[in-house]
Amino acid sequence: MFSVRELTRPGLEQTSFELLAGECVVVAGPSGAGKTLLLRALADLDPSAGRVSLDGVERGTFSGPEWRRRVCYVPAESGWWTDRVSDHFGGQGGGAAPLLERLLLPAGALGWEVPRLSTGERQRLALARALLRGPRVLLLDEPTSGLDDAARLAAEDLVRERLAAGASALWVTHDEAQARRLARRRLWVEGGRVTEQGA
């Protein structure tokens, strides 16, 4: 279980909620309301106050990198540190092929050059490289906003599989139909305030 108690940071009012193993919770709200700030604080990418724990173990027990290997943030705008796609999959390039196939990308995509990727290809590759590391909690910031229907559904299916295997996800989306497909609970963020809404 992923537990958030009295989390606060500049731009975000104090919030508490829980995420069960296997559960996906949608994060919604107007643009600039604080959804990304929330996800970044949970991934420990920005300083925040409060208690965040995974399966009862406090975040402070882990080093920053150890925490982020377990609680992985996939930003809306993905970053690439070299020009070759394969470099971003580390030594696990071989394990990436089935994931790419599930995301309707050819196995040869690993040989592509980053500057020539389309928005949709970037999003799917960014999702794949995060999933490849097997995180317990996925913090997904509009991961399918640039995808066509088929690729969007393929990405959702892939994440659902991870949920079935015990992972949890927070999924930011502005797509109401997608929100209904993915989750029964949602967090509504507006003006830096987080409120929980049931289905």
């Binding site: 991934a43 990418l45 982020r68 992985c72 960014a126 995060a130 590391r133």
Partner: protein, 268 residues
């Protein structure tokens, strides 16, 4: 030494060239004449003052006053490093990081040279210590300021790429490595270029000065080599300290990128 002595008339004749420059600026409406004359006046006053101070320091041969002069040089260099940063660190770090890196590198290398190669008696003899420190410091200052500038602007422009690695579990050292490497390259390029071109493209000022002052060219060349080795060592050490210190300051113990510790560049 059988150096040709320079008198006021010789210097005045050479200064005529600056007046010619000012006249050209007026003729072509460049608007540079005032700045040119002011810069010349500053240079003359500063050099006369330095000459007087050095004369007094050389006469005193005091460890205290030599130390004070060395510290003043490092502090001025620190101010220069800070002034050259487009995106400075906030607070005391803007001045402190560059200054402490230079202090570490320039003092270590100067003391090393004084105690093992030049070996004046006493080892801190200001006639040797201050010119050596000045030359090492001048170059280390360039390296440190280029390195810090490249680091802060590199982390700023490559923020998304650095954070992508951090978000996937990389340490701060892994994530900032390409930017830190580019910063070190930028810091060391001037001294590498200078060493490669010395003697072929340019005759270094110190060596030329020594030869003009009547020294044996072979001895002047040896001194120049020594200086280049020391400058290379000082620049590398200073730039390494500044860039590693910069990475430590622009990240934190949780391995987060902390660009909030940089000040936005001044507009205009």
């Amino acid at each position: 030494m059988n150096a040709v002595q320079l008198d006021i008339a010789d210097l005045s004749l050479a200064a005529l060239l600056v007046l010619v420059n000012a006249a050209l600026s007026l003729a072509f409406a460049l608007g540079l004449e005032r700045r040119m004359l002011l810069a010349t006046a500053r240079m003359v006053v500063q050099l006369l003052l330095v000459g007087a101070v050095l004369k007094a320091l050389f006469a005193a041969v005091s460890p205290l006053w030599t130390g004070v002069a060395a510290l003043a040089m490092v502090l001025f260099a620190g101010r220069e490093v800070m002034a050259r940063q487009e995106r400075r660190l906030k607070g005391v770090w803007a001045y402190g990081l560059g200054t402490s890196s230079m202090l570490l590198a320039a003092v270590l290398v100067t003391v090393f040279a004084l105690s093992t190669q030049v070996r004046p008696d006493p080892w801190y003899d200001p006639r040797y210590a201050l010119p050596l420190l000045g030359m090492i410091l001048g170059n280390t200052m360039t390296g440190v300021s280029l390195g810090l500038h490249a680091l802060s602007s590199g982390l700023h422009t490559r923020r998304t790429a650095v954070e992508a690695q951090i978000a996937l579990g990389a340490t701060r050292w892994q994530a900032t490595r390409p930017v830190a490497r580019a910063a070190l390259l930028s810091a060391l390029m001037p001294i590498i270029n200078a060493m490669a071109a010395t003697g072929l493209v340019s005759l270094p000022g110190m060596m030329t000065g020594q030869i003009l002052a009547g020294a044996d060219p072979a001895q002047a060349v040896r001194y120049q080599m020594l200086i280049m080795f020391l400058i290379a060592g000082g620049t590398t050490l200073g730039a390494l300290a500044a860039v590693l210190g910069g990475v430590l300051r622009l990240t934190d113990a949780r391995h987060r990128l902390r660009l909030d510790r940089l000040r936005a560049p001044r507009s205009g």
